[in-house]
C-alpha cells in the first residue's frame, strides 16, 4: 500500500510539469524525488516506456459487429460460363469411414495443388442400412449386419474445362476400393437437404397462411 501512495505524488507532479512547464516553475523542485529530475522533459508517455507496445487491433480495418441471429446463408453459386463449369459437388461415399475421409482429404489437397478453388468441404449424415436374412427354419427375417454409409462432399466453386478431363482421370485412377465417386452440379435443393425439417414451424406457417 505504501508504494502506491508514494508513486501518486510523483506522477501528478510529472504530468503537471509536462503539460505546462511555465506554470510549474512555481512548484518547488523539492517535491520531485531525486531520481527523476534528469528526464522530466523527455517523457512523452505515462507509465512504462513500453506502454501500449503490443497494440495491433487499431491497425485492422473496421468490421461490422457480427449478429448471431443470421441464418446460415448459402455461398453464392457460380454459374457455368463458356470456359468453366459452375459450382460442382464431388461426393465420396462408402462403408469404411477412414478410407472415405482420407480420399476426400486427398481430393481437397489435389484441388489446392492444381489451383481449383474449393468452396466448401462438408459431410452428409451417415445412413445405416440393416442387412436382414431369412431364417432357415422359419419365415421371420433376422438382423444379420448393420452397414453404415458415410458421405463426404467437396464443393468446388469453378473448374476449368481444359483441366476437367485430367482432374477427373486422376480422381478415377486413384479411387480406392469400396468407395463410390460422383460429380454433380450443385443445386439449391442440395443445400436445403442438409438442414433438418422443423414440423412445428412448418405447421405454424401453414396456419398463418390459411
Amino acid at each position: 500500500m505504501n508504494h502506491v501512495f508514494r508513486k501518486l505524488p510523483v506522477t501528478v507532479t510529472q504530468q503537471a510539469s509536462i503539460l505546462s512547464p511555465s506554470l510549474c516553475r512555481t512548484t518547488p523542485s523539492i517535491q520531485h524525488p531525486v531520481w527523476c529530475t534528469a528526464s522530466v522533459g523527455d517523457r512523452e508517455y505515462k507509465g512504462m516506456p513500453t506502454h501500449g507496445i503490443g497494440r495491433w487491433k487499431y491497425l485492422l480495418p473496421r468490421q461490422a459487429p457480427k449478429k448471431k441471429k443470421d441464418k446460415t446463408q448459402m455461398k453464392q453459386m457460380v454459374s457455368a460460363t463458356d470456359t468453366a463449369y459452375g459450382t460442382l459437388n464431388v461426393k465420396v461415399s462408402g462403408y469404411d469411414m477412414t478410407v472415405v475421409e482420407h480420399y476426400s482429404q486427398y481430393i481437397h489437397n489435389l484441388c489446392n495443388r492444381l489451383g481449383v478453388q474449393v468452396a466448401e468441404s462438408y459431410a452428409l449424415p451417415t445412413k445405416s442400412t440393416e442387412v436382414m436374412l431369412m431364417q432357415e427354419q422359419g419365415n421371420k427375417m433376422y438382423v444379420d449386419a448393420v452397414l453404415k454409409t458415410h458421405q463426404r462432399v467437396v464443393q468446388l466453386s469453378s473448374l476449368n474445362t481444359s483441366l476437367c478431363p485430367i482432374f477427373v482421370d486422376v480422381l478415377l485412377k486413384n479411387q480406392p476400393e469400396g468407395v463410390q465417386l460422383s460429380v454433380k452440379e450443385h443445386t439449391e435443393a442440395d443445400f436445403q437437404a442438409r438442414f433438418k425439417a422443423r414440423p412445428e414451424l412448418e405447421g405454424l406457417i401453414a396456419q398463418i397462411n390459411q
Partner: protein, 235 residues
C-alpha cells in the same frame, strides 16, 4: 481429325510391393494393439466367465439377471457359424494367366488400366492407332471423337467422355505425294473416355487390342507414341 482414348479402369487393386506389405502388416498390428475391445469380444469374455461360474459349485441361476437370451445363443456359437460361412465362400481368382495373354479381351490384367487400340488404314499403310475419324463441318470435335468410337470399333462400347476439351494433340505432315493446296498435314486431337460397361454387343470388324501403357511402345510409331505417352496416366 479427332481420336478417342478409351480406357478401362482397373477392376481389382494392384498387389502391394514387399515394403508396402511389411508396412501394412506393421500398421495392422499397431492398430490392433492400440484398439479397444469391441462389443462382440466383450460378449465372448462375459460368456466365458459365466460358463466358468456355472461349472463352479456355488451357482445360483436366480442371481443372473437379464441374460436369458444370451444363454441360448452364445457368442462363440455365432462366431462358429460365421467361420463356416466364410469357409464355404469361394472368391473368384484374382489373376487368370490365360486371359492376361489374350490381348483382345477386356478382362485381361484386372489390376491395371488398359487403352483401346485399333488398326486403321492411314494413307497407304495399316497402322495401330487410337481410334480416329475425320472432322466434318458443323460438329464439335467431341462429337467427332464419339463418332470415331462408334464407327471404328463398331462394337457398341458404352463410354463416358470426361470433358469437352481435348487432352492431347498430334500433328503430322502428309507425304509430298498426297499434299494438296489446302492441306499440308493433319492435326489429331485426343479425347479421353472411360469404359462404362465391359460387355461389347457385336463383334468388331477391325482388329482391336487392349494394351497397358508399358505395351504401347510395341504397337505405336515413335513420334505418335511420344505425344500419346504424355496424357495417358499410369497410376
Amino acid at each position: 481429325m479427332a481420336a478417342v482414348c478409351l480406357q478401362r479402369l482397373p477392376v481389382i487393386t494392384a498387389d502391394c510391393s514387399p515394403i508396402e506389405q511389411r508396412f501394412k502388416q506393421m500398421m495392422q498390428q499397431m492398430e490392433l494393439e492400440k484398439s479397444l475391445l469391441s462389443d462382440h469380444e466383450l460378449r465372448l469374455m462375459e460368456d466365458a466367465e459365466r460358463m466358468s461360474r456355472k461349472q463352479g459349485n456355488e451357482y445360483d441361476s436366480d442371481e443372473e439377471e437379464g441374460h436369458g437370451d444370451q444363454e441360448i445363443m452364445l457368442a462363440q456359437d455365432l462366431e462358429d457359424t460365421w467361420e463356416q460361412r466364410f469357409k464355404s465362400f469361394q472368391p473368384a481368382p484374382r489373376v487368370r494367366a490365360d486371359l492376361d495373354k489374350d490381348l483382345t479381351s477386356v478382362q485381361r490384367c484386372l489390376a491395371d488400366s488398359l487403352v483401346l487400340l485399333a488398326e486403321q488404314q492411314v494413307g497407304a499403310e495399316k497402322l495401330w492407332l487410337l481410334p480416329q475419324a475425320a472432322w466434318q463441318e458443323g460438329e464439335t470435335l467431341r462429337q467427332t471423337a464419339e463418332r470415331a468410337l462408334c464407327s471404328v470399333t463398331a462394337a457398341g462400347f458404352k463410354a463416358t467422355f470426361l470433358g469437352n476439351a481435348p487432352c492431347g494433340v498430334y500433328k503430322y505432315k502428309l507425304p509430298k505425294a498426297t499434299r494438296t493446296e489446302s492441306s499440308v498435314g493433319t492435326k489429331v486431337f485426343f479425347f479421353k473416355a472411360i469404359l462404362a460397361d465391359s460387355a461389347p454387343g457385336t463383334a468388331p470388324n477391325t482388329a482391336l487390342l487392349w494394351v497397358k501403357k508399358s505395351e504401347l511402345q510395341k504397337y505405336l510409331k515413335p513420334a505418335y507414341m511420344m505425344k500419346v505417352d504424355r496424357f495417358i496416366l499410369s497410376l
